[in-house]
Structures are given as structure tokens and as C-alpha cells.
Amino acid sequence: MNDPRSIRIHYLLRAVILLGFALYIGHLSQQDALHYYVAPKLARWIRLCPVPLSLMAASLGLQALFGKSSALCDCEHQLPRSPLRSSALYGLFLFPLLLGFLLPDRALGSEAAARKGISLTYALPETGREERFTAVNPYQAEFAELAGKLYKQPVINVHPEIFSETFGAIDLYKKQFEGKEISVSGFLYREQRAGSYIYAVSRFLVQCCTADATPFGILLDPQTQISLPADTWIEVRGKLHAAVFENEEIVMITPESLTPISQPSTPYVYTSADSIAALEQLPVSRAENEGK
């Protein structure tokens, strides 16, 4: 059992660490950098965390400074006794704070996409082996309706808000979209396959946090000459084509223009509960004006 003096020191150290976490989260949300790490629906909860964290820090501080010595007891949760173990414990807690404050916030890029294996198709079970469920397939219905709405646009503008759904709809009806004009932005994914580089305009789809980030990419025609470095943010305009790449049917863009842009404020894309309603709410005029 620790004596009251060392308990006070432990409590103070803990209060400082808790405050550190609260400050780090505050710093992230102030810099608008939380979305580099978690999806918006989770970020709401994380923004609330500094409240309990600082209350906890305050009450630990209160015990450390004004608590009666007789009431200070670590009989239930043992505090580490040796200096070595204490420093190991607090070092462990300081590590994420140091990492967080010292290194810049960066979005996942080509490197991570190559590790996770980029999908060039919308790999969800539209035509899976379970034929008996194709009759009730809300996905297909949603994608079909979305595809119909997209097809009416002179130039399909892939909005980041519904990136994965738009990609899914185009991928599902790739034959019908053959030759349509498209405009899409993302980071330039580069990978060496079979001796030559392949390029794709890509986005990470994040469901919950960066651990489940899945990279999606639309292949750029391998004939195109591209001299930009990997991870450059680009806007691609070009024509859609259905193609076969490594025994897979995919969609591909033959770029007409490829302009570097600055990284958007939200680099990842998220799923949308109702992509059709989302498309209607988006500034449609933007897409139409660009088409004219």
C-alpha cells in the first residue's frame, strides 16, 4: 500500500494526463482535425469526452491537494509502487499525447491503400452466390434509382458526400455508363503491378474510424501518361469505360484533363443513409453548370 504522500503525487500526475487528453481532443476539434481519425457520427461523442475528462482531473486534483490523508487509500485500485513501474505506466499514457501533438495530422494515402488492398470494383454482394435473395435487394433498387438520376446529368459529378454510392451505381451498370463524361476528385493512387505502374483516383471509405478504412479507386486508363507523384490530390475529368483488368470487370476513366487540387477539408468519404435524398439536396446546379 502506498503512503498518502505518494498517492497525492500519483493523483496529480493522473490529473495532468487526463487534462492532456482533454486538451488534445479540444485541440483536434478546434483544428477540425478529428475527421482524420474517426467518422463524423463518432466524432460527436468524442467531442463530449473533454467534459468528463476534465471533471475527473479536477476531482483527482481536489483529492491530491485537499483530501484528508486518512481518506487517501489505494486499497481497491492499487497504484504502482516502484518508480520503474510508475514511469512505465505514465509513459504509456503520455505516448499517444506526444505522438498526437508532435506529428502532423495526415490522412491515409497510397501506402496504406496498398497495404489494405485497393478495390477497383464496388465489392458488395450485388450478384453474389445467393441467388434466392435477389428478389428483395434494397441495395440494387437504391443504386438503380441513383444510376438513373446520375445518367441524366450531362457530366456526372461525383460528390464526396455520396462517393461510395455513386461509385457503386456506376460499377453496377458499367455497360450503360460506357462513354459518359465524369468528373471526380481524390488522391492519386499509384502501385506497381506486373512491371508497370497503375494509377487510380481514390478515396478511403471510413465507417467508424481509420482502422476500418477501406480504399476505393477508379482506375485511370493505363495508356495515360501521368507524371504526378503518388498521393497528389487531383480532379479528373474524362470518359467512363467498362474494362477487364486482372480478370475482373471494372470501370475505368480515360482522362481528358487531370488537374492537381488542394487536399479537401474532409479527405475521407462516408456512407450515406439515403443517397438519393442526399443527391437531391446537393447543389445540383454545380454539376449542371459545369456540364454546360
Binding site: R14, L18, F21, I25, Y36, Y37, V38, L42, I46, C49, P52, L53, L55, M56, A57, A58, S59, L60, L62, Q63, G67, K68, S70, A71, C75, E76, H77, L89, L92, F93, P96, L99, D105, R106, A107, L108, G109, E111, A112, R115, K116, G117, A123, L124, P125, G128, E130, F133, T134, N137, P138, Y139, Q140, Q207, C208, C209, T210, A211, D212, T214
Partner: protein, 329 residues
């Protein structure tokens, strides 16, 4: 007390040794590991997983402290049915009332056990809670919109595995496998002597729990993000080609990825083309019950021997269950 020390630090020592050996074997061959792109990826996934778990850990610690300060012991034992089968059903349904992610589970369960919840009910709650709750059910259904039976199968298998393991533990384990003995706890003399009254006392306990769980959480996050940064998904997928290999592969993947139970269904859905549905089921049932992050936390709650027994039970039950389920589906 000093003689016990090596055993007490085992849960911390083993991963540390693992990391050191990994570092010694790998680093000389891979100078690019110190390259900036790796460090950035590592940081992004590490902070991502940590931030994702943080609200749940805080919620679990807070609930546990509220229980400790405000709920008398008799309540818990009065609620829990005495006979094993109704008690196990009760344990399975508890997840619906406390939809806590697996990271928040351990502090809550420890408190419930100290308040008199029997071991087998606690284990059932730990196993079923992260899956059998409305949030996870909704997320799974969304991820498998075109294969809703996979969501039902996930719920069913999780229920069967949790209840089965609960029965086995009821029948086989007699001695308390808790790390901190309950006796030390039963005398609670200084409950009200904390300066600032009951609410401050809740907050002090919350931070005690937070630091208790936090160290395992951070180590788990470090290992998970290390694996996420350096593991190549594509090269491992070759294992999945054999019929049983795919099950083992998906189970291993669930263990090392340590995803949150609300998001793992979306990751599983991306494998639907390449892997049999049964192995995806194994992925989605094992992951929330047992993964890197979680197993370190379980080791903090239970004695090593019991924890190993539990890991073995979970692994074999999920494996058998998912193979059987795939035959039937």
C-alpha cells in the same frame, strides 16, 4: 507479494517481448520502416483506434463507478435469477440494456461481479453484450443489406456461443478466477470520505478505472495499429483458398484487426466475394468476443489460467459454430 510479481506483469511483458523480438528480426531487413509514410499511417490508425474506444471506455468506467457508489449489492443479486438457465438468458439480454462496446465492458463487468454477479453470468454478458445489442444489429443489417440472413445468423451464433460457454463455465469452474480478490473489496469503509461528496467520489473511481483499463487499451491499440500498418492483406488472402483455411484466416484476422463491433460488419462485407459466408460469420462473432485489445483487458480482469481457458473455449466454440452454421445455411 514480491514472489507474485513476475506473474502480475506477464500480461504486459509478453506483448513487450513480442514487439522487441519482432523489431530485432525485422528492422535490419526493412530500413524503410523508419520512413515517414509508415510513421504517418501508424499514427493515423493508432490515434484513430484510441479515439474510437475512448468514449466507450469512459462510459464503461462511469457506469461502473455509478454502480459502485449508488447501487447497493443486494439489488444485483436480487435481479439475477438463481437457476443457471434463466440466469444465462438474463446475461444475454443485458446487452440490450447496456449497449456498451467491448472496450467499456470490462470495468462494468468487474463492478457487477464485485456486487455479486456469478462468474458464468458475467462471462455470458462479456461475450454476448458487444454483439447482442440493437446498435450492432442495425449496423450488421446495413452492411449486409442484400444478405440479411447473415445478420440473423450472427445474432443467433453469438447467442449460442455465449450461452454454451456460460453453461460450460457453470459446470466446470468453481474457484473465483478474479485477479483482485473480492474480499478486499467487501469492506467499503471510506466510501463517503472522499472530499467533495458522492459525485466527486464517482469521478475519482472513474479515473481509477480509466487508468486501470487504459494501459491495456493503449498496448492493444499499439499492437493493432502496428499490424494494420505493416500487414499486407493481399499476401495473407492466399491462405483463405483452402476450405478450412478461410475460417482460420478470418478468425485470425478478427483477432489482429481488433475492430469495434459496430463497424466490423462493413469490413466483413468487403470479403463477401472471396470468402465463404460461414467464415465471415466466424469473423463477426469472434472479433467482438476476442481480439488483441480485448484479450489484454480480459487478462487484467481474470487470472491468466482462466483467461487462457476462456480464450480456448471462445475460439473452439466459434469455429465449430460457424462451420456448422455454414452447412445449415
Amino acid at each position: 507479494m514480491t514472489t507474485l510479481l513476475p506473474f502480475k506483469i506477464m500480461p504486459l511483458l509478453v506483448p513487450a517481448v513480442f514487439l522487441i523480438i519482432l523489431g530485432m528480426v525485422w528492422l535490419p531487413d526493412h530500413p524503410e520502416l523508419l520512413d515517414n509514410a509508415y510513421m504517418d499511417t501508424f499514427k493515423t490508425s493508432f490515434i484513430g483506434i484510441l479515439l474510437e474506444a475512448l468514449p466507450f471506455v469512459l462510459l464503461g468506467a462511469l457506469l461502473s463507478s455509478l454502480l459502485r457508489v449508488f447501487v447497493p449489492d443486494e439489488w444485483i443479486s436480487r435481479w439475477i435469477p438463481r437457476r443457471p438457465v434463466p440466469a444465462i438468458l438474463f446475461g444475454c439480454l443485458l446487452g440490450i440494456i447496456f449497449p456498451v462496446c467491448e472496450c467499456g465492458m470490462i470495468p462494468l463487468v468487474r463492478r457487477l461481479m464485485h456486487k455479486g454477479m456469478p462468474l458464468y453470468v458475467a462471462v455470458v454478458f462479456i461475450l454476448s453484450g458487444p454483439i447482442l445489442n440493437p446498435v450492432v444489429y442495425g449496423a450488421t443489417l446495413t452492411a449486409f443489406r442484400s444478405h440479411p440472413w447473415l445478420a440473423y445468423a450472427r445474432m443467433g451464433l453469438a447467442f449460442a456461443v455465449a450461452a454454451g460457454i456460460g453453461l460450460i463455465i457453470y459446470a466446470t469452474v468453481r474457484k473465483s478466477p478474479l485477479r483482485l480478490s473480492i474480499k478486499r473489496e467487501t469492506a467499503e469503509p471510506h466510501q463517503l470520505r472522499t472530499r467533495g461528496g458522492r459525485l466527486v467520489s464517482v469521478l475519482v473511481h472513474t479515473s481509477d478505472e480509466f487508468f486501470e483499463m487504459g494501459k491495456y487499451l493503449i498496448i492493444g491499440c499499439l499492437l493493432t495499429s502496428g499490424i494494420q500498418t505493416f500487414m499486407n492483406h493481399g499476401s495473407l488472402a492466399a491462405i483463405g483458398e483452402q476450405p478450412l483455411g478461410s475460417y482460420l484466416f478470418m478468425i485470425g484476422l478478427a483477432f489482429v484487426l481488433s475492430l469495434c463491433s459496430t463497424s466490423d460488419a462493413f469490413v466483413a462485407a468487403t470479403f463477401l466475394h472471396t470468402f465463404p459466408a460461414g467464415s465471415l460469420l466466424a469473423f463477426m462473432v469472434l472479433g467482438p468476443m476476442l481480439d488483441f485489445k480485448n484479450s489484454l483487458m480480459l487478462l487484467s480482469l481474470f487470472k491468466t489460467r482462466f483467461a487462457m481457458y476462456l480464450f480456448f473455449l471462445i475460439f473452439s466454440a466459434v469455429f465449430i459454430g460457424s462451420v456448422l452454421a455454414s452447412l445449415w445455411l
